[in-house]
């Protein structure tokens, strides 16, 4: 795995991640996001509907909580999850948990971590964890980690323990990794823990960086867990300890404003769960992520972003009475459950070229939500994924053209 940085502007790293897998077919632009899945399927989507989207990320994320219960099946299958799931053209990253859901705390021991699948909790030792990776055959994967320090009021002692355990797990994983024939081509990412304690974060980063890992997973920064100021401060300290040439993947952060802030402190990769969460609450991303084109550079760089719209999409404002907003709804989305869209025959976002916006209206999506039809999830997931990927493209373009501040203003307005 190789990260070629083409530009570093005010802490933001613009570049290309190559040689992700052995055949080196795939590359991933950074800053960028992975393709989020449930059991290797983008939620709601079949391969046909997924591939109505262009420029999909070259890396698909699978999670152990979905796959652990199929361990025996995967061992018998022998050819890894990519082939098992009928995926062809993608690299595979395996993480421990699904960032779209929160797990109950209190199940971690010195030797084990727990994941929750459809049949309940499964306890994983390092040996079991590595046997699973051998059956899954990802191109890169997150090392086993004690990531239970995201909750507020976690004691310093508990945080220190999490850092120690995570380093111990990593060392064990690295030993088994070497011995496992099936993982010969795979890369391992070390996990930086440390909760909200600066010294522990630095220690975790410094120690992890000493190990032969291909990249880093920054864990325990979940949106609900901490304010962005603190997150930025901690990540700044962490990335200062990490080698420039290795990628940093941040778990649990997906909101556009937080993504930008984390890119500014040196994060390269994000998980793609945010569009899924937006979809599940019946909402559609509609924030402006255009980059105003500088007249001098206009036409010189291929524009991957939408032309600036005359009319800005209606962004929800919480109403005094009437329909209440779904829980956790952000200001980057519109609530299609709202009656105001009942007769709105416009696409979700004017000018969006996704399958949903090209073919369907807000009124239709509203109808599908009201009648509880499965197609609502399909269409919203298509649009939200398209919009989110467009946001990352625009972010990279803004970095390339030194227009980050302008871009930020637009996204945050």
């Amino acid at each position: 795995m190789k990260l070629e940085l083409s530009k570093v502007v005010q802490g933001c790293r613009l570049g290309l991640l190559t040689a992700i897998e052995q055949t080196a077919q795939h590359s991933l632009d950074v800053p960028g996001c992975l393709l989020f899945t449930h059991c290797a399927t983008v939620p709601h989507l079949t391969q046909d509907t997924l591939h109505t989207l262009s420029n999909l990320p070259a890396v698909t994320q699978v999670t152990l909580n979905c796959l652990a219960e199929h361990h025996e099946v995967l061992e018998e299958f022998k050819e890894g999850v990519r082939k098992f799931a009928g995926l062809h053209d993608t690299a595979l990253y395996c993480s421990l948990h699904d960032s779209a859901t929160t797990n109950p705390a209190g199940h971690i021991t010195n030797k084990t971590v727990s994941v929750w699948g459809s049949g309940g909790r499964m306890e994983l030792t390092v040996a079991k964890f590595m046997a699973l990776q051998a059956a899954i055959k990802p191109d890169f994967y997150q090392s086993m980690a004690d990531g239970e320090t995201w909750q507020a009021n976690t004691s310093r002692k508990r945080v220190r323990k999490a850092v120690d355990r995570t380093l111990a797990h990593l060392d064990e994983c690295l030993i088994l990794h070497q011995k496992t024939q099936e993982l010969k081509q795979a890369k391992i990412f070390g996990v930086v823990e440390g909760g909200n304690i600066l010294e522990e974060r630095v220690r975790s980063a410094r120690e992890t960086a000493k190990r032969p890992v291909a990249g880093f997973v920054l864990d325990g920064f979940q949106s609900a867990a901490m304010k962005q100021d603190l997150r930025s401060q901690l990540i700044t300290a962490v990335t200062a300890e990490l080698p420039q040439e290795k990628p940093r993947l941040l778990q649990g952060v997906g909101r556009p404003d937080e993504v930008i802030a984390c890119v500014e402190v040196g994060v390269d990769l994000f998980e793609g769960f945010f569009p899924f969460q937006v979809t599940e609450r019946g909402c559609a991303l509609c924030f402006d992520c255009t980059v105003t084109t500088d007249p001098e550079t206009a036409g010189t760089s291929p524009s991957t972003v939408l032309e600036s719209n005359e009319e800005r999409p209606v962004v929800e404002e919480p109403k005094e009475n009437g329909d209440s907003c779904p829980e956790n709804m952000t200001r980057f989305e519109m609530n299609l459950n709202d009656k105001r869209y009942r007769e709105d025959l416009r696409p979700l976002v004017e000018g969006c070229s996704c399958y949903c916006c090209k073919n369907h209206t807000r009124a239709y999506i509203h109808h599908l939500l009201v009648t509880n039809e499965l197609l609502a999830g399909v269409l919203l997931m298509l649009h939200n994924t398209a919009h989110y990927l467009r946001f990352f493209r625009a972010l990279r373009e803004a970095l390339a053209n030194d227009r980050l501040q302008d871009f930020k203003r637009r996204v945050l307005q």
Binding site: H38, L45, T46, E76, A85, E343, Y355, H360
Partner: protein
């Protein structure tokens, strides 16, 4: 097959080449082949939104959507006509909005043909306390509790707003297990309501209205209904009031009686029938069109239809079964995914249902295409025999009603 078919027809203007059967009706039926043994036939039914190859199975998209499948996927499956339910769509989002969105075609962005039911069946079956009078069906809205009267005129007004290519008359639906004077009353009333529906149709040049033959399981009443209704100049006929829990022996006799008396030149639609064996037998009895929620509903519970019956993909036995649902199936699901993967995915995501839905629609449409091809190639009886051999482990398991029904049209099973 393509050689014997007419070109695609995008609108009424394109139909001038084919003789219209009903005066000014936007429908033409061209019979391509008739089975020399049974009553089976293969036709091209040309409607305002393109041709429909019959015999045809029509998937049901109750709320203006096909259960998680996009219209593009439905088109790719080769679906030429699907159903929308007037009762549901009339309630939500309502005819006004659908009209504003250029009809149901525009609202759901479906470019091919649509058939809508009258709404009556849903009222009687879904809504408690519905009451039928000569005026119409009175029921209480499940959404706001208001009393609503659905008259034949209103049903057609809503269906005119939906803009379907085929509308169904409002009929007086009686459960097929009811006997006595109520059945006769319902039959006569359905005839009177047909006349009111015909008079109410504002778009006879764009929307076809089908009559529904009633009469329960009483051959005399069926015959009387057929006599009356075939006097009317409607573009097509449905056989209604069946497929509601009656004995299969009664069911097929009513079907074959109906097709015996329906005009050869008009399409025959058997309502609510969709099990593979029923489809094949009823094609032999002379039906052209079928609909049923079963293939798409059962898909959501993980039941995949195959030529030998069905597989319950959620059962443990498929957890390590790495073959496709049906190795011979050409659908997107079978081309890419194994039973084992679908089994695993069912525990994680709704996309698993979409995969089975696609497969099941593909199964139904492929079955009907094979039936049709065999009729065109004059080998339908042989097709039926091999279909039955594949579906049942042995001839002892053939349902006797199917054996009898097929024998009645000279198809002997081996």
């Amino acid at each position: 097959m393509a050689a014997v078919e007419s070109g695609t027809c995008e609108g009424p203007a394109g139909m001038s080449a084919v003789k219209r059967l009903s005066h000014a009706a936007p429908l033409a039926l061209r019979i391509l082949a008739e089975c020399p043994v049974s009553k089976a036939r293969a036709c091209v039914l040309t409607l305002p939104h393109g041709p429909v190859n019959t015999p045809v199975f029509m998937p049901v998209g109750t709320q203006g959507t096909m259960k998680g499948i996009t219209v593009e996927q439905l088109e790719e499956l080769g679906c030429q006509i699907c159903l929308g339910n007037t009762y549901h769509l009339g309630m939500r989002p309502g005819p006004e909005l659908i009209e504003k969105a250029s009809g149901l075609h525009g609202f759901m962005n479906w470019r091919r043909n649509l058939l809508t039911d009258s709404g009556g069946f849903q009222m009687v079956s879904l809504v408690e306390l519905s009451e039928v009078t000569e005026e119409g069906v009175m029921f209480r809205s499940p959404y706001d509790g208001k009393e609503i009267l659905l008259t034949p005129e209103q049903s057609i007004t809503i269906q005119n707003s939906l803009g379907s290519d085929i509308m169904m008359q409002l009929d007086d639906v009686v459960s097929s297990t009811v006997t006595g004077p109520r059945v006769e009353e319902a039959m006569h009333r359905s005839v009177r309501w047909l006349d009111r529906c015909i008079a109410a149709n504002k778009n006879p040049d764009r929307q076809n209205l089908f009559a529904i033959i009633q009469g329960g399981l009483n051959a005399d009443l069926r015959k009387a209904c057929l006599d009356e209704m075939t006097k009317r100049d409607v573009p097509g006929f449905a056989v209604g009031g069946l497929s509601g829990g009656e004995e299969k022996d009664d069911f097929w006799k009513m079907v074959t009686l109906s097709t015996d008396h329906l005009p050869r030149g008009k399409p025959r639609y058997l309502m609510g029938v969709g099990y593979a064996v029923d489809l094949v037998v009823c094609v032999a009895l002379g039906c052209d069109m079928f609909d049923c929620v079963f293939p798409t509903r059962t898909a959501r519970f993980g039941s995949a239809l195959v030529p030998w019956g069905s597989l319950q993909i959620k059962q443990k036995q498929y957890a390590k079964d790495f073959q496709p649902i049906d190795p011979d199936c050409q659908c997107a699901t079978c081309k890419r995914h194994s039973r084992a993967y679908l089994h695993a995915l069912f525990k994680s995501d709704t996309a698993a249902m979409h995969h089975i839905t696609i497969h099941n629609i593909s199964y139904q449409l492929t079955l009907m295409r094979s039936v049709r091809q065999s009729i065109i190639e004059q080998r339908f009886p042989e097709f039926v025999r091999s279909f039955m051999r594949r579906m049942f482990p042995s001839s002892e398991q053939y349902p006797s009603w199917a054996v009898d029904a097929l024998a009645s049209v000279n198809i002997a099973l081996d």
